[in-house]
Symmetry: C2
Subunit: 239 residues, 2 copies
Amino acid sequence: MSPRNILLLSNSTIHGSGYLEWAAQYIKEFLISNDVTRVLFVPYALRKMDDYAETAHKKFTSWGFELDSIHSAENPVAAVNKAEAIFIGGGNSFQLLKSLYDNNLIEAIRKRVLLEGIPYIGSSAGTNVATVSISTTNDMPIVYPPSFSALALVPFNINPHYIDADPSSTHMGETREGRINQYHEIPDAPPVLGLREGSLLHVTGQSAVLKGLHSARLFRPGKLPEEFPLGTDFSFLLN
Amino acid sequence: MSPRNILLLSNSTIHGSGYLEWAAQYIKEFLISNDVTRVLFVPYALRKMDDYAETAHKKFTSWGFELDSIHSAENPVAAVNKAEAIFIGGGNSFQLLKSLYDNNLIEAIRKRVLLEGIPYIGSSAGTNVATVSISTTNDMPIVYPPSFSALALVPFNINPHYIDADPSSTHMGETREGRINQYHEIPDAPPVLGLREGSLLHVTGQSAVLKGLHSARLFRPGKLPEEFPLGTDFSFLLN
Ligand SMILES: [Ca+2]
Ligand SMILES: [Ca+2]
């Protein structure tokens, strides 16, 4: 059994609230209960990495944690190998995944999280890359990664920022649900959990509990989508 | 100078109207003025290709044209080589582009359209693949194409189904404009024309005129986005 300790956030900021504020209590408890004092931040999903690291640094130090950004490390793999915990922030999933591959971090992070159980926090694109693949990202393919396969810290996919169709809209582009259904026409595509803004999945070993503000929508190939309330244990997706 | 004859539609169906109906007059005139009687349809952007070809067949025959679907051809390259005109429909841009590569059609279509000037109609994903790359698609990356580079029938990118930010929305996922701006942080990214639903670009040689129902929004690296009215000749983007 994997000793995993993972917090997968749909997004960083909800309307009318500051950066990560909606998830502050979850993140602090998660880090404290795992005896973490220092977090390794991965800002690869945005291009202005100095600014991004500064934003994350301010927030985490205000909560009483130290934070180093991997983009300032001389050897990113070594930084992962000695990290107490990893936080991968949002931005563009293609750029993030490409940078993880370019810096040889896929296997390094997998090993630390899946075998050694160091805490992993992902938000938005950082949640996409924690799953089987980035095939259910909402981002534009602004750079070409060597694969869409991702860290596979969990054996399913997530659609962050999941949003219901607006019945009053006259826009004809595919709905989010329609896009996920297209994905499920691909043979062997995994389940997709639609995680609404202000929601997170807390994975501990073989449990995966929905927390935050909203129910989640689960899509499985050949089945109708299903709503699951807060507090649901999605451990059945981990088998 | 390329003899190109290209009609790039933002989308196939607008709210409250039938398949391709909003563009019927443009498509008919385009085909008739180019002496086309028979169209080669490319249904690769959807997986249910028989159904998709049937929908297109019904519409084009109702307008008085013959239509063959490339997915029924024994040799897709030969079908392109003898086509009078090509219509590539919408769906998923990743799946469409991958199928074009898998069937060795990129160079074949480029040659027919750019050198021999056969009429090309694209809609939605069929418009994305006509541009430099699919980097400004709205679709999910459900399959992995060998490249994001596309047919490059025009030397810029298009964002089909372009939609303005809704000021009343509380959703925090990136706006369409924000996503295009992220793309423009990538070195050497080309201009992006945001084509709203119910709009098309009619390219004839060195002219590229905006037609249909709405103004378009042009994004260029390092510049503020600009609105251009119906009737604008975007020939400056062709140089
Ligand atoms: Ca994003
Ligand atoms: Ca589409």
